[in-house]
């Protein structure tokens, strides 16, 4: 069960109040009519599916009904940060890779949770 901090309500609430809405930070092509089939298909269907840090769009469906972003580890399920629409993440796969200490704590969480690599 996730305990998610809604950046608009400023409160931690239970997972059941929220819905995940897929990958965050996907820009709609500025001129869809000018898109090739490749570009349009990529926009519609092709997603990052990382094992590790992932940026997601969530909606506080039975709360403030606002969309916001979540940075979450898809292996340990640890939520690293939540931030408002239009903002950029402070924690990314690249920033985590630069901090080996954090990487080992992630591995520790994975161990505790009994997750197999």
């Amino acid at each position: 069960m996730f305990y998610i901090h809604c950046p608009y309500c400023g409160e931690h609430r239970e997972e059941e109040e929220f819905h995940p809405k897929g990958q965050a930070h996907i820009a709609r092509p500025a001129d869809p009519e000018a898109c090739s089939d490749e570009a349009w298909g990529d926009y519609l269907f092709f997603r990052d599916n990382p094992r590790g840090i992932h940026h997601e769009l969530w909606v506080h469906a039975v709360g403030c009904r606002k969309f916001f972003n979540v940075t979450r580890n898809t292996v340990t399920y640890e939520i690293l940060e939540t931030y408002k629409m239009g903002e950029q993440p402070t924690i990314t796969a690249a920033s985590q890779a630069r901090q080996p200490a954090d990487a080992s704590s992630t591995a520790e969480v994975a161990n505790q949770a009994g997750v197999r690599a």
Partner: protein, 416 residues
């Protein structure tokens, strides 16, 4: 390979069953194979078996990072059916169904395939219209199916609450009598044993860490046990397909989600068929041991954790108890999750890739188990020829750019 038979069973009884030979070898990897299959689940092992049996390609390695059938093959709810709406999907799943019907004999291994029928319940007028359309489409494709009204459903499943005042009123169902269940572990073991007997090397605890690619052509894989070379590589890695594709330098239109199932304590026989409900997202059957096997929906977020969220289990069990009031005091024994690789159109990907010689068989999402023999059969033919089998052609990665999706969402049901 020692063939299994009633006579063999009696003979081994004389030596207290202590001298059965191992079902497959544990070979050290060779430097080179004709074909490498990445992923030792049901689909991968079936691919290796049909490569050896039907195409005479026996110099094959199955590379598995864990143990055989330890992923989704062991984590599904064992349901086998072929009542899909669209021609392309129906042809593929019915191909599998025909192979299921002779599989135990073919493999000389009892996969406990039991054609006990599957009911897909309709709870609303729209459900019933969809069911009618799907059953008509099935019949046109030569797949058995009937539309039942509530009374017809009640006759097959007396313990189902079909009363008018039920929380989820049952208006009717589609009924596929040839559908049923099979023992999932036995499917992996049966294919592994039969493939091994034909000379396939099954390499467990061998994880692929990268592909060897030169001039846009694959010529092998890097593993934690050294490099292995082959001109043809088939990836059948379910939830981890996206990770493999990234190693090879391209993206797949897949997202990996946890899908949960759970089993109860063993009960006396009460349910001799499979009941599925897409509307409330629960499905249930009873094993020969007596456990109720219950499947839930997927978690909406991406995850590789092989476990699911509690709220999903709670929703599913609420629905199951509403439909089967007599199960309200049944205790659940175990709960687990598998990682399913879902496509936007709920259909698999059987496809060549931008890398020559590298093929992917993935995206089976929440419903891959039922297709195991058919998927392996079609994928083996594709690997042997170097071009996709006609049944696999509609399931190319290209469909996500051309727009020719095979949209089985809601049609064959989200639940599998």
């Amino acid at each position: 390979m020692q063939r299994y038979s009633g006579f063999g069973l009696a003979r081994h009884a004389l030596s207290h069953h202590e001298n059965w030979e191992r079902q497959w070898r544990n070979p050290t990897p060779k430097k080179q194979y004709d074909v490498i299959i990445v992923g030792g689940g049901g689909h991968g092992l079936a691919t290796a078996y049909y490569l050896a049996k039907e195409h005479g390609i026996r110099n094959v390695a199955v590379v598995e990072k864990g143990w055989l059938g330890g992923g989704n093959t062991a984590r599904n709810t064992t349901i086998v059916r072929s009542n899909y709406l669209w021609d392309e999907a129906a042809a593929l799943y019915e191909h599998a169904m025909k192979l299921w019907e002779g599989l135990s004999q073919d493999l000389n291994y009892n996969v406990m395939f039991s054609q006990r029928g599957v009911l897909n319940l309709g709870h609303t007028l729209q459900d019933m219209r969809d069911i009618q359309r799907r059953v008509n489409a099935n019949r046109l494709n030569g797949i058995d199916g009937e539309v039942l009204d509530a009374q017809g459903v009640q006759e097959i499943v007396p313990i189902l609450d079909c009363s008018k005042n039920a929380r989820y009123p049952v208006l009717g169902a589609s009924w596929q009598p040839r559908a049923g269940v099979a023992r999932h572990d036995a499917v992996a073991w049966g294919f592994a044993r039969a493939a091994d007997a034909l000379g396939v090397d099954i390499l467990q605890n061998t994880e692929v860490t990268g592909f060897k690619i030169r001039d846009g052509r694959v010529y092998g894989v890097h593993t934690n046990r050294g490099d292995i070379e082959a001109k043809t590589v088939g990836c059948v890695a379910a939830g981890n397909s996206g990770v493999l594709a990234k190693m090879a330098g391209f993206k797949l239109p897949l997202e990996s989600h946890p899908l949960q199932a759970l089993v109860s304590e063993p009960l006396k026989p009460v349910l001799d068929t499979v009941v599925m409900s897409n509307h409330v997202h629960g499905y249930i059957s009873q094993t020969d041991k007596g456990d109720l096997v219950i499947g839930a929906g997927i978690d909406g977020y991406n995850g590789y954790g092989q476990r699911g969220s509690y709220s999903t289990v709670e929703h599913t069990l609420q629905a199951i108890v509403e439909m089967f009031p007599m199960f309200s005091r049944v205790r659940m024994n175990r709960q687990w999750g598998g990682i399913v690789d879902t496509c936007a159109d709920a259909c698999p990907i059987l496809s060549a890739t931008p890398v020559k010689g590298l093929f992917f068989n993935c995206g089976w999402g929440t419903g891959g188990f039922k297709a195991t023999p058919g998927s392996g059969h079609v994928f083996a033919a594709s690997l042997a020829k170097g071009e996709m089998h006609p049944l696999a052609e509609p399931f190319s990665i290209d469909r996500f750019n051309t727009g020719a999706l095979v949209d089985e969402h809601g049609a064959a049901g989200v639940a599998h």
